[in-house]
């Protein structure tokens, strides 16, 4: 453990020894060891909440470790800020980008570089940028405004920024979560070249096939601890999945117990504009039957949020119709739609799905508080609210010290259980679920999936928006793909291929044309997908 244990012949680029970081309620990293050699891609694999982001934040000077040592080129180092880390040759492409959206790519790059002249700051950039982009094989338009770029393009700007700052060790935190599968492959090609240049890469993901495709060595984190450090060549997806979750994971589809019923939700020619006048949804048409789960796939920001907002009354459509059991409800209020049986599991569960400062019992009734027995006239019946809370806490196994606990003290999974109990408890006709398992642990994810299936089986129409293709392929009957506010295709989830959906997510309709629109190519099991990717 002592830094002076004698210089090794060739110290690794980075070594972390026994790094521990505690937060008030959780040990985010517990005695973590990690090395990255030059020319190596080190994958950091783990479920949401495993501590991956926290670990690299300490590497980047955003957080200070409570215990342990960080050695760069064998030298003990401590970063007080990202400035220190950058100076030491570490670059971070964060989970959420840090770009000035109203400025151009060149301006953003100039801002990040030391020694940028005060006048005409972007002039000096052209040459180094050209060198780098040619070397690593990616294009960026220097004059484009960042707000106009797709997430994949913004990510390239972030990578370029790090390289311009002279990064020797590049950290990518869940880089593929904003990419289509094809874009991910392009990113992997860039990483291969960086490897060949002798740079080190830390690649964070919770997707097994990606990690196996790009990494040389894989560190698996679970609950803040390293549970495995293996060469990619010596392991399998199944083994990694078990390590990551701590037990064997059951996967695969479970089909509906009966045939879908009549159409419950029919959306026709729906268009939505943002307050700025920008079109967010363009002439969207689809339907969902009772007893059916329809998925919505797409790279983040392609109209999914607007679609759920319109269907749940949070945003008014500019044109088109939304029929719910044959009644046009386009433009109806949240309250009206809820009364008609439209429930909503919102993307932003902490700020929208619950009121963090209110008690669990209150949150368990918050949209239903106008109904009997919770309301008697204009008064609330707290006894009925309390009894309902006791039942929901028991039925959904919500881990809370009491029904009067302030909801923000609950973990993410339990907040989601509060929302699920409230929304699904009242026999809904249409369930709109937006990223319902994002950030949840495996148990809470499985519960969420089971509850959505249960709704399907009792005849509700379910619309599931997700960025997780595996989730969509396992859970849904059909998948609607959105790109720039348009439906690029609706595919049968049985037998759909990830690659085909990926193309549709990028606006490329060729899979529909080549296969006559049916898209029933043999479905690639996500675990077999590994071969596809590395081939």
């Amino acid at each position: 453990m002592t830094p002076s244990s004698g210089p090794e012949p060739q110290p690794p680029l980075l070594e972390m020894r026994g790094v521990t970081k505690r937060f008030p309620n959780v040990v985010a990293n517990d005695a973590v060891d990690l090395t990255v050699a030059r020319g190596q891609v080190r994958a950091l694999l783990g479920e949401n909440g495993a501590g991956k982001t926290t670990l690299v934040h300490m590497l980047y000077g955003l957080q200070a470790p409570d215990e342990g040592a960080i050695l760069l080129h064998g030298q003990p180092t401590r970063f007080r800020s990202p400035r220190d880390a950058k100076a030491a040759g570490i670059g971070l492409v964060a989970q959420h980008f840090h770009l000035a959206r109203r400025h151009t790519v060149a301006e953003n790059l100039a801002l990040a570089l030391p020694g940028t002249p005060a006048l005409f700051p972007t002039r000096a950039l052209a040459r180094p940028v050209k060198e780098l982009t040619e070397r690593y094989g990616f294009e960026v338009d220097l004059t484009a405004r960042v707000s106009r770029l797709s997430p994949g393009e913004q990510q390239r700007v972030e990578i370029l920024k790090a390289l311009l700052q002279g990064a020797e060790l590049l950290i990518l935190d869940e880089p593929t979560s904003v990419l289509t599968p094809q874009e991910a492959h392009r990113l992997f090609a860039v990483l291969e070249r960086m490897k060949a240049d002798g740079k080190g890469v830390i690649f964070i993901s919770h997707k097994l096939d990606e990690v196996l495709a790009i990494a040389d060595r894989i560190t698996v984190l679970r609950g803040g601890r390293v549970v495995a450090d293996e060469a990619a060549a010596d392991t399998t997806a199944a083994k990694l999945a078990t390590l990551m979750v701590g037990r064997e994971v059951a996967r695969g589809r479970s089909e509906a117990s009966r045939e879908p019923g009549p159409v419950r939700l029919a959306v026709h020619d729906l268009s939505v504009h943002a307050d700025t006048g920008e079109a967010r949804l363009k002439n969207v048409t689809f339907h969902v039957r009772g007893g059916e789960i329809v998925g919505v796939a797409g790279v983040a920001g392609n109209g999914q949020a607007e679609l759920t907002q319109v269907l749940t009354g949070l945003h008014a459509p500019s044109s088109g119709s939304v029929h719910l059991d044959d009644v046009n409800v386009a433009g109806a209020s949240v309250r009206d739609l809820f009364a008609r049986g439209v429930v909503h599991i919102p993307e932003d569960r902490n700020d929208m799905g619950v009121v963090g400062a209110m008690r669990v019992a209150e949150n368990l009734v918050m949209r239903r508080h106008r109904e009997a027995p919770f309301s008697k006239g204009r008064l609330l019946d707290w006894r009925a609210v309390g009894e309902h809370a006791d039942g929901a806490i028991r039925d959904y196994a919500i881990a809370t010290s009491s029904k009067d606990t302030v909801t923000r003290q609950l973990s993410g999974g339990n907040v989601q259980k509060v929302i699920l109990a409230r929304e699904l408890g009242g026999k809904p006709g249409l369930v709109v679920a937006s990223h319902p398992t994002y950030g949840l642990d495996v148990a809470a994810t499985e519960l969420t999936h089971a509850l959505l299936r249960e709704q399907r089986d009792r005849g509700a129409a379910v619309l599931l928006v997700s960025e997780d293709l595996d989730e969509l392929l396992d859970l849904t009957d059909r998948i609607l793909v959105l790109f720039r506010g348009e439906v690029t295709g609706v595919v049968d989830a049985r037998g759909a291929s990830r690659e085909a959906i990926g193309l549709l997510m990028a606006g490329d309709r060729s899979p529909l044309e080549t296969q006559g629109g049916s898209l029933t190519s043999a479905r690639i099991d996500p675990h077999d997908g590994v071969n596809e990717v590395s081939a």
Binding site: Q75, R78, D348, M358, M366
Partner: protein, 364 residues
Amino acid sequence: MTWKWEPRGEPTAALVWGVSLGAVAFAMILTGILFAFFGVAPIPAFVTIVERTILDARGLSEVVRRSIPLMLAGVGLTLAFRARFWNIGAEGQLLIGAVAAAGVALFSGLPATLLLPTMFIAGFLAGAAWGLGPALLKVRLGVNEIITTLMLNYVAIYIVRWLINGPWKGRSMAGFAYSDMFDPAAFIPTLGATRLHWPTLLLAILAALLVTWLLARTRFGFEVRMMGESPEAARYAGVDFFRTTLILVLVSAGAAGLAGVGEVAGIHRRLVDPGSLSIGYGYTAIIVALLARRNPLAALVTALFLGWVAASGDVMQVALRLPSQITGVTQGLVLLSVIGAEPLLRYKLVRVRKTQPPTAGEVA
């Protein structure tokens, strides 16, 4: 070994009380230091103040009567602040309430039994109307209510000035800018020879109970709390922002209007200069509501405390010959300490042991 701030869970009631009392005590110590700068020994000064305010019956009645308008306006503000409607306009709402009551008293010619009730109703409605504009501007156009409510205070001040110098200037008042004295039927009864207009005090206590009940038991109160704690969630829950905001602002501003009725009909008994009518009660009520942590029942207690500060100001001027502004300074110190102590509710100071390697520089 070093110290560092760490977030803590939900503050307990004991912690909230402890921190609030600590903040108040801190402000009092600073006030004492201020006394010393004026050449007044702090401890004897506080003894004199306590003797003449709390230990003296007449002094105590002054404390309570000062706190009546603070209670009414402060209770109203707790409701508005719960919904994060930052009403800074209680001062103007109070003055307009007083104007309406004075109008009824001077010109309505109502029979004696109806006069006072009508004055209270008129004061409530006028105060509420003064809050209506900012409420509409906020929910319809997103105009910041802090600015609109604050600016309307000045409009109210000048309306009162104009009335007492112009149309409502009393015939019997020679050169002074007052209205005529009200008919005795329009006087709010007081306790014995004091200026404690007890019906208004009862009204204030009722208002606190009513707002408590609204917040705790009604759907309206539940939706107000949702709106204040998380507007996103309130939208998702289908709360009608327009209707809810309107109602809560009417109640809040109306309560300030009632405070104006109490002052004009309980103390002055004619419409007087705005500076005499209210010694900034509407602004002090903001401190009352915040110190009470937006709890209407607690606002009764904090109003008594700030009423005591105001009554002490009188003692300081008369007995200790301190400048009149000392009251405002003390109020300011209380507000600053309370706001400054806020982080203590959310963070605690903990000791940490460091076992970190030296920095790169130290090794190289």
